[in-house]
């Protein structure tokens, strides 16, 4: 695509994000908040899976850690939301670092299975460790997000906060992809041994991207807690991971715009099912498997190759 595509796309996206609440109903705003939160996690996962070629089925756990961090710090210790968010994200990053450093030696299938186990451990413990997490009751009474006395106390304000963060993290991912670090990641994903031979610090890079993606997930989890004013580990169980994977694959794994292109429409699908909500995961599974078969690079990849063909 031409070098105009990215800035134009970003301007259009920002305009759409700003305009949407002026046009849409409260339902639209709510769905888009959720879409924004999932986009944040998907952006981080895309860097990890799409660029560095490492699979994680455990990022739902990092969302949960972020949410619980914020929930517990703001309610029990009455920290300010900003401080709690930073602490929750940093704490989750530390967990990811201590877990990631040893497990990222493992490749492909093994890593997928380990992260799946890790995610399950976090969810099980979070719903049963009553003294700390409140068990199945969860953490109620999480305050609205406030910065310097300004409270994000309505859905629309929350929408602007979430999408402000989403756009910032989206831009950051663009910067990263084009940086030396991004090139290193792509080299890593394409051929690890070759990357290493060319001087890419392989181990450090993949731990860094794992931690970064965990922090993205924690930030989303943290904001989720403020949005619902409540935290419960069951909200972050395996279905969340399935939705994230479906968004990533349908949008286009390893493409810049993939996370947002996948997350927004799929969130609409899952929130519009109404009394067919039971079919949600089945639909997600089918979309996700179908995309792997018929659109291996997702909607973004398909669009890119269509544009390529038109130009020739």
């Amino acid at each position: 695509m031409s070098h105009w595509a990215t800035p134009v796309g970003l301007v259009v996206l920002t305009g759409a994000v700003i305009a949407l609440p002026l046009l849409g109903s409260l339902f639209v705003v709510t769905v888009m908040i959720l879409a924004g939160l999932f986009t944040i996690v998907a952006i981080g996962l895309n860097l990890l899976v799409g660029y560095a070629g490492k699979i994680s089925f455990g990022h739902n756990a990092f969302m949960a850690l972020g949410a619980y961090g914020t929930g517990i710090l703001t309610t029990r210790f009455e920290w300010s939301p900003v401080l709690a968010l930073v602490a929750a994200a940093a704490g989750t990053g530390l967990v990811a670092l201590s877990v990631g450093a040893p497990i990222l030696r493992l490749r492909g299938h093994y890593l997928a299975m380990v992260t799946l186990a890790l995610g399950q451990i976090v969810i099980i413990v979070s719903t049963r460790w009553t003294e700390v997490t409140g068990g199945l009751t969860g953490v109620p009474g999480v305050p609205d997000f406030t910065v310097l006395g300004f409270a994000f106390d309505t859905k629309v304000k929350m929408y602007y906060l979430v999408w402000g963060v989403t756009l910032a993290l989206f831009l950051l991912s663009f910067r990263l992809i084009d940086s030396r670090f991004g090139r290193a990641l792509r080299a890593l994903g394409a051929h690890e041994a070759a990357a290493e031979a060319l001087g890419v610090p392989v181990v450090r890079c993949r731990v860094q991207v794992f931690v970064l993606s965990a922090v993205y997930a924690a930030i989303a989890g943290s904001l989720y807690a403020h949005f619902l004013n409540y935290v419960n580990g069951t909200f972050f169980d395996l279905p969340v991971m399935i939705q994230l994977m479906a968004m990533l694959v349908v949008g286009g794994i390893g493409t810049r715009w993939g996370p947002i292109v996948g997350a927004v429409p799929l969130m609409w699908v899952s929130q519009s099912l109404g009394r067919y909500a039971d079919y949600s995961l089945l639909i997600f599974g089918l979309l996700y498997g179908g995309a792997l078969l018929f659109l291996p690079r997702g909607m973004c990849g398909a669009l890119a190759s269509w544009v390529e063909r038109q130009r020739r």
Partner: protein, 297 residues
Amino acid sequence: MLNLVPLLLANGIVFGAIYGINAVGFSILYNSTNIINFTQGEFVMLGGMLTYALYEQAHLPLWLAALGAIAATTAIGLLVERLAIRPLWRRQAKDWTYVFMLFAVATVLPNLVMLLISRDAHTLPAFGGAATLKLGSVTFTSQAVWVLALTLVIAVALHGFYNHTLLGKAMKASAVNARAAAWMGIPVERMVALSFALAALLGALGGIVFTPLTSTQFNAGVSFTLKGFGAAIIGGLGNITGAIVGGLMLGILEALSTAFISSLYGDAVTYAILFVILLVRPTGFFRPLVELREQEI
């Protein structure tokens, strides 16, 4: 507490035998495709839930329901290979694509079961017909004897199959080097299909003999997948005897840890064991059937 140990060991062995059967399913598929089957646990769940559906909802006799469930699960295994795996195989897709695809299948299958059969946990009546087994202070129920006997039969049969039949050797060869195997005239794709069928069949068998001991539910698959994988890793992925021994070890560890550490966290303790083993000994404790190179792990 210590006088409970024999009972805990016995329980661990029975549950571990199921993990072992499941681990054998992992190993079979790994042996012919190098794929780690994220749907293995779903086959176990399907075995239990389909038998329930045929027995309670379609009112077939138990043995017929069990046979029907085995046949149906095997057919589903073949379908998964045909619809989801073979297209990727032909496209020579990247490794991670298989993992994602099987994860997608592991999403679709339980949700179909939930929508079409039932969302509740169900159990099956014990089979009966087998004697109880008394060893010292511990009595194995007749269902537990079924589990142990089945495990033994599977281990012996597969050992013979892989080492003494042409088909078994062909399946092994296609795992070592699919291209070379194809040059030798082995129909690799058919071997892959066959291993999916065999893995599904074993999963279903395990699920059916296991369900009367506790119960099963549409979402039970993930836990079976993780535990079966853990057992397969302990046993050296691809090693059939190792898989069974790995299953027994995991079952015993699980029984002891729930009794002596905490029962509150249930499966989390077992997953933590799996986690530690993968960190410390990703190659397991037995020689894998196909030697792994360090970088392939």
